[in-house]
């Protein structure tokens, strides 16, 4: 094996990490994917062609395709109209494209009004069709609502739940793990035992127990934050374990001892000397914590113990798709599942890449 060497490259720890990270193609791609997710979340009302609650006449309309050729002629991209036939005797309903109607896809159209980031009032949408036509690239649900719009809007809640939850995890993990690792001894022992206890509680039953206790009349914002706290209640243990072990290792280092001798206060030492020493590790484990939170929110909402309409999250949408009809007849309702899987995968790959990059002992 090649012994590791101190590189001749001068450069901060971060530049080094980035240099290594760049080689991790999967992680780099994941970073891109997540960038897309968060951009979607940020621009959701603009990207969504419709208001997520706007209902159309067509229940369970399948995704409509974008065409370029109409009667053999090349045209600008368009969608056909929708034709619905229903037979009340056999309960057969079919929705088919109506090729007599042509609705060109337009960009930057005026449509349903929305409020962006609590202040900007607008009705501009990235794309859409003229009123009278309908563009449902991912079909509609039973109320005729546009699934694509709902998927886009739900991304807002689902991807931020992880962030907020991770912030709480970060605070809890650093404080508790920090205290445990820095003081050692009795404090450390007690914290360790407490963490073991938390690990003994089966996650989902625990979430459910706490989720069930959320009063029904609470506003959705309150529910949202409570959910994030509930999710964080379990996840801090992993982080604080890492913080602790790193601290135990670091507190014997010379520069910490020096600071101590110089009379710096405990918290000051932790914050200014110890934390920067392993910030990269924190970031890695936080990155790996976010997907768990996303899954947690999805699961809770799925069981009706988390967020509820009118808030839409992936879990709320999947709750609607939790039936045979969605699986066997209306598969487009399951699309949020793909979002969940892709987002969670991306976070995991990103975390893995970061871990490799942050570890100086990996080749």
């Amino acid at each position: 094996m090649i012994d590791t060497v101190t590189s001749r490259h001068s450069g901060s720890q971060w530049q080094l990490m980035w240099a290594k990270f760049r080689h991790h193609k999967l992680a780099l791609a994941s970073l891109g994917v997540l960038g897309v997710f968060y951009s979607i979340a940020l621009l959701a009302p603009f990207l969504a062609p419709y208001d997520s609650w706007r209902a159309s006449r067509f229940a369970f309309a399948p995704p409509n395709r974008i065409h370029m050729f109409h009667q053999g002629h090349l045209m600008r991209p368009f969608v056909y109209g929708i034709k619905m036939t229903s037979d009340a005797r056999t309960f057969d309903r079919s929705i088919t494209p109506d090729t007599s109607e042509v609705w060109p896809v337009r960009f930057f159209v005026r449509g349903d009004p929305y409020v962006w980031l609590w202040m900007v009032h607008s009705n501009l949408h990235l794309f859409g069709v003229d009123s009278g036509g309908q563009i449902n690239l991912l079909g509609t649900d039973i109320l005729g609502r546009d699934c694509l719009s709902r998927d886009i809007v739900s991304t807002q809640i689902s991807v931020t739940v992880g962030m907020v939850g991770v912030f709480i995890t970060f605070v809890l993990g650093c404080l508790i793990g920090g205290a445990s690792g820095y003081y050692g001894g009795v404090v450390d022992n007690a914290v360790q035992r407490f963490m073991e206890f938390v690990t003994c509680l089966p996650t989902i039953p625990m979430w459910m127990a706490l989720g069930a206790a959320i009063p029904a009349q609470w506003s959705n914002l309150k529910v949202y934050f409570t959910i994030t706290v509930i999710l964080a209640l379990r996840s801090w243990t992993g982080l604080s374990r890492q913080v602790r072990s790193k601290l135990l290792q670091l507190r014997e280092e010379d520069y910490v001892i020096a600071a101590k001798v110089a009379g710096a206060s405990d918290w000051r030492i932790i914050l200014t000397h110890l934390l920067p020493g392993f910030a990269s590790y924190l970031i890695v484990s936080l990155t790996l914590e976010i997907p768990r939170m996303i899954l947690g929110e999805t699961t809770l909402s799925f069981f009706g113990l988390g967020l509820r309409p009118p808030t839409v999250s992936w879990g709320v949408l999947l709750q609607d798709a939790q039936n045979l009809a969605a699986i066997s007849v209306y598969p487009w309702l399951m699309f949020p599942a793909i979002l969940v899987v892709v987002c969670v995968l991306a976070f995991n790959f990103l975390g893995d890449g970061l871990r490799d990059a942050a570890d100086p002992y990996k080749e």
Partner: protein, 336 residues
């Protein structure tokens, strides 16, 4: 042509690692030979490829690959084995390992698997190479431990590695390495992880066992001072090549290569760790993917000759005092 008393002959050995970041040439056309019954020290900085080279001798260089060169081993019965041609997972090389060429490693504490007792791991080697078996195994293990002056060999055999101190572990390791009476013992920095007094004991033990068993030792270290205590000859390695080879007294009295000279200057501080020792050298080792052209030492060499050292790779040449050196200072370009 290898002399008859040459037990191991390495010619033009090149070992490369193909990593995702690029190709690393760890050993670069290295020539070296080991005389039967002698102790040869190999000295070089961390990362110069000495460990890779030593592992290639028993073909555990993976994931590195021998791309050029030869390794020839003349065994007990005089037959010559071309080690470089063997299948690294084949049975031929497995029979040579330990039985013919054994190895002692740098970190004694991690040389033994934590799951098994020390005795069982020594016994495993002896059983494998049919030194002892069945009822004879346990006494043989104890005997081998006793031969390295283990204070309570019976007890040690029953203990787990984590119950032994570093020095004890290294003793046990040496016992294991010698348990099959190898022809060659490769000692890869066996004392680096130990404190000074233990280091002295281990060196003494090695000397004593070498004298008793008459094997050849390839002693690898970054520490010239340590090598001087055990080796009769020293080869200095820099970036995958031997840059100078000489008898110990010659090397110390008149080092030829600028690199050797720099190393020697750092001896008084040698009991510290290697990075501070190297402060006297200007610059660091170049990154593994950027091997300098010409003499690979030229970017750090105080006597580097522009236009020569950075262009032409120096060839090895034998000097009058019997030492061999690879440096333009001693070749046709000298005083140009």
């Amino acid at each position: 042509m290898p002399a008859t008393d040459t037990i191991l002959d390495i010619r033009g050995l090149t070992i490369r690692f193909h990593t995702r970041q690029g190709v690393v040439t760890a050993v670069d056309g290295l020539d070296l030979s080991l005389r039967r019954g002698s102790v040869l020290g190999v000295v070089g900085e961390s990362g110069c490829g000495k460990t890779v080279m030593s592992r290639a001798l028993i073909r555990i260089e993976a994931p590195g690959r021998i791309e050029e060169g030869q390794i020839r081993y003349s065994g007990r019965n005089g037959a010559e084995v071309a080690l470089h041609t063997l299948d690294p997972v084949g049975s031929v090389i497995r029979r040579i390992r330990w039985k013919e060429i054994a190895m002692v490693f740098q970190e004694p504490m991690t040389s033994f698997g934590p799951q098994h007792t020390v005795g069982s791991q020594i016994g495993e080697a002896m059983e494998l190479h049919r030194i002892a078996s069945g009822g004879g195994l346990q006494p043989a293990v104890v005997a081998s431990l006793r031969s390295v002056q283990m204070p309570r060999p019976e007890e040690t055999a029953r203990q787990y590695p984590h119950q032994l101190s570093g020095g004890m572990c290294q003793r046990a390791m040496i016992a294991m390495a010698l348990s099959c009476r190898p022809e060659i013992l490769i000692a890869d920095e066996p004392t680096t992880a130990l404190d000074v007094s233990t280091e002295a004991q281990i060196l003494e033990l090695l000397r004593e066992r070498q004298a008793a068993l008459g094997m050849s030792i390839l002693y690898i270290s970054h520490n010239l001072g340590v090598v001087a205590q055990i080796a009769s000859e020293v080869a200095v390695m820099y970036l995958g090549r031997i840059v100078e080879r000489a008898a110990v007294n010659v090397l110390f009295s008149s080092p030829k290569h600028p690199y050797t000279r720099a190393l020697l200057r750092s001896i008084p501080r040698v009991d510290r760790d290697s990075s501070s020792a190297l402060e006297v050298l200007s610059g660091n080792l170049p990154p593994p993917f950027e091997r300098p052209g010409g003499c690979s030492f030229h970017p750090r060499c105080p006597e580097s000759m522009a236009g020569i050292c950075d262009r032409v790779t120096p060839a090895s040449q034998r000097l009058d005092d019997g030492s061999e050196v690879c440096c333009h200072l001693y070749g046709e370009h000298s005083h140009a």
